[in-house]
């Protein structure tokens, strides 16, 4: 029994001739924040897609908390406790902000299918409170009755974080959670993510913003052209010349 809650084992994924993921091995310790960084097109999002069952790998397995996720349906993977925040916001644009958060809260309570057609939504007080609580955490409580489709990209992303948090996942996968956010909202999101780190939720975060990465991550993996070229603590990564060259172009860290 290892302390690794997520164990990605020799995952390989090709798109036609493109080797998007080549023999990826990645272990994430329970309760830590693991950042994945790398240039555009490195395969970061693809790796998350494999984890949540959106894509099937050509070979290799994803193990999570004693289960093999590879081959499971996306909704089963969600039920196992893995929840993802997407790179391009995936919300329910025709619902209000509050409803957007209530739906995943129902998923947590009702399982994959429940025919609860009689009880009115307005009588679902507990679910509503949970949703409101999380919306306060991400700073969207004031506008919760607004339509979600017309929000800014940064707000949509905060909403998606709320949608993930309301499910209390064991593992939260964040794909560039602060992209499109103002500096102020970015700092807020960092604070929020730090807060949930204290609650012991394991997180994998993909991020271009080094400020975010270095203020959150316990460990960092660097992905380039489908391969992990370096892994270590933030300090190790900062000092790694290979990383500087391949990804950071010698930029000041």
């Amino acid at each position: 029994m290892s302390d690794y809650i997520l164990d990605i084992d020799k995952v390989d994924k090709t798109f036609g001739g493109l080797h998007a993921l080549a023999d990826i091995n990645l272990k994430v310790e329970k309760g830590t924040v693991h950042a994945i960084i790398g240039p555009n097109g490195a395969g970061k999002s693809t790796l998350l897609n494999v984890c949540i069952g959106k894509l099937a790998p050509n070979s290799g397995t994803v193990n999570f908390d004693g289960q093999i996720l590879t081959g499971m349906h996306p909704y089963q993977i969600n039920k196992a406790g893995v929840v993802r925040v997407f790179q391009t916001p995936e919300i329910f644009p025709d619902l209000t902000i509050l409803q957007n958060v209530m739906v995943p809260a129902f998923a947590k309570r009702d399982g994959t299918f429940t025919f609860n057609f009689w009880k009115s939504m307005s009588a679902e007080r507990k679910i509503r409170q949970e949703a409101e609580h999380v919306l306060e955490d991400v700073g969207l409580a004031e506008q919760m009755h607004n339509h979600s489709g017309s929000m800014s990209r940064g707000d949509k992303r905060r909403l998606e974080i709320a949608m993930a948090l309301v499910q209390h996942p064991k593992l939260l996968l964040l794909d560039e959670p602060t992209a499109g956010m103002s500096r102020h909202d970015t700092n807020r999101t960092i604070d929020l993510l730090k807060k949930i780190k204290e609650r012991g939720m394991t997180k994998v975060i993909i991020e271009h913003d080094m400020h975010v990465v270095f203020s959150l991550a316990d460990r960092i993996s660097v992905l380039a052209q489908g391969r992990i070229i370096a892994e270590g603590t933030p300090d190790e990564i900062r000092g790694n010349p290979k990383v500087q060259e391949a990804y950071l172009g010698g930029a000041e860290l």
């Binding site: 909704y75 995936e90 919300i91 209530m102 739906v103 025919f115 057609f117 009115s120």
Partner: protein, 389 residues
Amino acid sequence: MSMATPKQDMVTMALFTAAVLSAPLWLSPIGANYPDLLQKFAIYGIFAIGFNILFGLTGYLSFGHAAFLGVGSYTAVWSFKLLSMNVIPAVIFGTLLAGLFALAIGYLSLRRSGIYFSILTLAFAQMCYNLAYSVLTPITNGETGLQLDIGDPHVLDSLFGIEYTGLPSTSLFGLQMTGYSGFYFCAVILILAFFLSLRIFRSAFGMKLRAIKSNQTRMMYTGFNTRPYLLTAFVISGMYAGLAGSLLAVTDPLAGAERMQWTASGEVVLMTILGGAGTLIGPLLGVGLIKYFENIFSALNEQTLHEVFAFLPDWIENLTVAIVNPFVGEGWHLMLGVLFMVIVIFLPGGVMEGIRRIADLPRKFRRKAEKRRQEAEHAAALRAAEEEG
């Protein structure tokens, strides 16, 4: 799109009930207060409410719901023939059997979405229609249609010692389902059907269906297995259609295969979209409009048109009649088609969207006036500053 409170819903329900039960009164000024037409309103209202639970909430557009209407009718007539002239078993069996059909057809059709789903439902319904005319004639009586016979067994009725001389009529424990009693039976069921749909619209289940319509893949990553949700909505709406079909047989115990034809499926799509898909009342408005105008326009012919336009000078009268004539009588469907195009192009949300837009007008005007006032004030302030400076 925030939800109505339970109190508002109770008011809605009370108003709806009052409106339906008093329909013979308030529809009399427009000459729509005779039982035949009122029954049609109620029955197609049930059909459209059910269709709206599928299409309005999930966005899955079925082009085959007439099949369930037909199954409901055939089942009800068989129940009259074999079991009892009482309408209760007929309605129950008609609804249940349509539900079974919906389960099978829905299970297969829901493996696809979008246009492929629509085509699959259409194909299954046309299959049912053709089977009713061919292989299944022992059950459906083919082109003649299934009807009551003098020699029908009515097993349950005989058991209770009820004997019929001549062709019996349908009844609710002795109350004959003709004229207004027939309408009121349908009206009570319509009210119950509307209430159930209201509950579904307001429930977590309804919210999940809306979420599926909004972003189905997201639902899967949120932990929902969307297929059973869609199938449940499909079966419910199929049962509504079966209920409507059996009520058609209650008011006129005759079932023909034409009830299952694609035009009948198309009609319910039209009524729902015309009124406003996804709204509670919209589909009912669509039903009212279409059935009322169908009643008027399909009864017109060239001669009656001449009478209508007799007040015009002769040559204008002849021209008007020549233009209008293709759209009335048999040509009513042409008119329906044109109306449908106009609605979809200019008012995709249907009549309900039109109402909402009109209701929003005062607020829009007020906002505009407010803006103009602010601009005027701003200009005045600028001028004042200039004069000072």
